[in-house]
């Protein structure tokens, strides 16, 4: 801008005549401005197609692909990103971007990402000296040393960077099919719109690789409302779920990640395809839909009483509404129930969970007392007084009694049953435990319980008895006499040593600690006695739980 143009703007001269002479004193009459026409919607500024005046052809060199992409993003528009020419090669195998802009602008833009400007001269690229209108005579690079690369290669090499998560109005989730129903149910609980469809993912950079089929789940809150941030964060933590934001119909980018190339510029690259861009944890892919989007509500299973029936031939709808329905005996089932402050008394494990138990419990206090009752494919883990810890594996159970009757945490019986009814319907004794599950019940033989530490403790090593030399000599003499068929004469000291050794062996096998005693009382239903034992041995938490059980049974 010239210094003159920074002054006040002069009024334009009237067309076809000379400019009127200003009045004396330089004062001009003030007149009301003409009414402004109604403002029309302002169209976004058109991209500049015409090269800038004074533009020269130059090459910008960068050390990294992300720096080259940042330079491409700053270039004046008009040219589709996919047609931007990129080169690679020269010293340091750098990234080169030819451009046609003014030398001053190029110097400024390149300096942002610590690049260099080169000017072509006779088949060579001469490094710009940084001032003036011409290149210096310094370092040169032959044009034939450079090879063409695509913008997609730059995007691939540059990768994605992470930024602060922004609120999402729509999230596109790519996941295996078995996760769809659970996430859909949670999203519907939050009054979100859910659609899903099967899609095919083809490798973006290696198109020959086999395609992978998965599901696309779209979540939206409707209108301008954002999705709950806690839900998005929770979904993002799931290991098999890729949470994407929709940049355009042709581009999905992992939530809270971005490319060095701006989103809208990147969205022009796929053309008619749809691309999924994600970091190396998930990978990038072309997305091909395999079906139309379906409403997620169709994945929610209705209860038995919602099945469709034929229209009644005898009565009209009005009559049918007035007729008393036949009484239906309620069936004892489990229904989800809200509960808080309920302690975990046991856990139901499968075979895969058993493999994780040593890593979880080894070295923990719970390993001292926990017992495992193996079943066919489900196994019961419990402890005297209850586990009282929520393990990250298995299904947590809570005791409801009477006897050893357990329910999954978060469920209750429907209809509610008193203790006598529960005892009659699900009888247990000191040797059995019953676990009620939705639609089934499991019974375990508590006599087969084993300490949980047997899962990771192998057999004990062979013990070598170290007896005094004198006793050893006596034993050798005894052995010799037995071999000769003579009546053995036991030395006075050796017999007592042998007795001590074997007494130690037998005693070790028959030792019972207070845990067994307390558990026996608990299984027999004497919770107060079991609680007293736990209290005696400084375990007030389990004592409290057992006192509570005793009190509940007294009701």
């Amino acid at each position: 801008m010239s210094p003159r143009s920074r002054g006040t703007r002069r009024p334009a001269a009237p067309a076809g005549g000379e400019r009127p002479r200003p009045p004396a004193g330089g004062l001009e009459p003030v007149t009301d401005p003409p009414p402004r026409p109604a403002e029309e919607p302002v169209a976004p500024p058109a991209l500049r197609v015409v090269p800038q005046p004074g533009a020269v052809r130059l090459f910008a060199r960068f050390g990294t692909a992300s720096a080259a992409l940042a330079f491409i993003a700053q270039l004046p528009g008009g040219q589709p990103i996919s047609e931007v020419r990129c080169l690679r090669g020269g010293p340091g195998d750098g990234w080169w971007v030819p451009a046609e802009i003014t030398l001053e602008a190029a110097r400024e833009m390149v300096s942002v990402t610590v690049g260099r400007v080169y000017l072509p001269s006779g088949g060579q690229l001469i490094r710009d000296r940084g001032w003036g209108d011409s290149a210096a005579t310094g370092q040169s690079v032959g044009v034939d040393e450079l090879r063409d690369v695509s913008v997609l290669q730059l995007v691939q090499v540059a990768g994605l960077y992470q930024y602060l998560p922004q609120p999402l109005r729509e999230a596109v989730l790519l996941m295996p099919g078995f996760l769809i129903s659970g996430i859909t149910r949670r999203a519907l609980d939050l009054h979100l719109a859910v659609t899903y469809r099967p899609v095919e993912l083809i490798s973006l950079f290696e198109p020959g690789d086999p395609a992978r089929t998965c599901y696309e789940l779209c979540l939206s809150a409707g209108g301008d409302d954002p999705l709950p941030a806690s839900l998005v964060a929770a979904l993002d933590r799931l290991p098999f779920v890729l949470v994407c934001r929709r940049v355009a119909d042709s581009l999905l980018i992992r939530h809270a990640w971005a490319s060095a190339l701006p989103d809208l510029a990147l969205a022009t690259l796929p053309g008619e395809e749809t691309w999924v861009m994600a970091d190396a944890a998930y990978g990038c892919a072309r997305l091909n839909p395999l079906g139309e989007p379906q409403d997620g509500a169709s994945l929610v299973r209705c209860g038995e009483e919602y099945q469709l029936v034929d229209i009644s031939r005898e009565a009209s709808w009005v009559d049918a509404a007035d007729m008393p329905s036949e009484p239906v005996l309620p069936e004892v089932t489990l229904v989800p129930a809200r509960m808080s402050g309920v302690r975990v008394d046991a856990a139901l494990l499968d075979d895969a969970d058993l493999a994780c138990l040593p890593g979880l419990l080894m070295g923990q206090p719970l390993a001292e007392s926990a017992v495992l009752i193996r079943g066919r494919d489900r196994h019961l883990l419990t402890a005297p007084g209850g586990l009282l810890e929520q393990l990250p594996i298995g299904e947590p159970l809570c005791w409801i009694g009477p006897g050893n009757l357990y329910l999954p945490l978060g469920y209750r019986l429907q209809p509610l049953l008193p203790a006598a009814a529960r005892a009659a319907l699900f009888p247990t004794d000191a040797t059995t435990a019953v676990i009620l599950l939705p639609g089934t019940a499991l019974r375990y033989d508590l006599e087969t319980r084993r300490p949980v530490w047997l899962l990771w403790a192998g057999p004990a090593p062979v013990v070598q008895y170290q007896v005094p030399p004198a006793v050893n000599a006596d034993l050798a003499a005894l052995d010799k006499e037995l071999a000769q068929g003579l009546a053995p004469k036991l030395p006075a000291g050796g017999r007592s040593v042998l007795r001590r050794i074997f007494r130690t062996e037998d005693g070790g096998a028959q030792q019972h600690d207070w845990h067994d005693e307390a558990y026996a009382a608990e299984l027999a239903g004497d919770y107060a006695a079991a609680a007293e034992l736990h209290l005696k041995y400084k375990d007030p938490m389990r004592a409290a739980r057992l006192f509570e059980r005793a009190a509940e049974l007294e009701n």
Partner: protein, 219 residues
């Protein structure tokens, strides 16, 4: 599971001892929330209220005190600690209507009446009433505390001090403590010194109150 086994108050009394044992064990294990739950199941609402107060859960404590027949204490917690004078008035309103109909013991009503007046005065101050409006009820409290024939009501003593302190009338605080000392309430001088140390950051030197025998001899 709670929903399966709890319900009738009559049968719950039989196992209150077990619930109290469970609550004591939970307290011993450091699980105060569980202990409160068990104390409530045992019907020991006063203990549950004390535990909730120690945890700073004044609204929960107010519910417990109300269930244990101490509505004035519940209302005081609501207005003085939870800063909710409307809830405190809601606790006291049915009691005031009962008092009007004359169904209470007159002696107990008089004692409870002074507590209620203190709570209502605290409510008025919390709602923006003039600070001097507390003077009549503090004067009544001083009169009661100065009478050695009336057993000490700990709540009247503490609430009158708190009310005067909240109204920034430290002179009235001194009058309340002085009334207690004149009636030879146990620990009155110590409480006054502790208050002066906490609020005024000064050591209080109190004169020795002469005994009745000395007073009689001097007279």
């Amino acid at each position: 599971m709670m929903s399966e086994t709890t319900g009738r108050n009559g049968t719950r009394m039989a196992n209150a001892g077990l619930y109290v044992r469970a609550a004591d064990c939970y307290r011993h294990a450091g699980l105060v929330g569980e202990a409160v739950r068990c104390y409530r199941l045992a019907g020991a609402h006063r203990t549950a209220g004390d535990l909730n107060t120690s945890l700073g859960q004044y609204r929960e404590a107010a519910v417990d005190y109300q269930n244990s027949g101490m509505p004035e204490l519940a209302a005081w917690l609501l207005v003085h600690h939870a800063h909710d004078p409307a809830a405190a008035r809601a606790v006291l309103t049915p009691l005031i209507s009962v008092h009007v109909h004359g169904t209470e013991n007159p002696a107990a009503a008089a004692e409870a009446g002074l507590r209620r007046r203190l709570v209502l005065a605290r409510c008025a101050v919390a709602e923006g009433a003039a600070l001097d409006s507390v003077l009549p009820v503090i004067e009544a409290a001083c009169t009661e505390l100065a009478d050695p024939t009336i057993p000490r009501d700990r709540f009247v003593d503490e609430w009158a001090v708190a009310l005067a302190e909240h109204a920034q009338r430290y002179d009235q605080v001194a009058l309340v403590f002085a009334a207690s000392m004149r009636a030879r309430r146990p620990g009155a001088a110590q409480r006054w010194s502790q208050w002066a140390d906490r609020v005024l950051h000064t050591n209080l030197i109190l004169p020795v109150v002469p005994t009745a025998a000395r007073r009689g001899g001097r007279d």
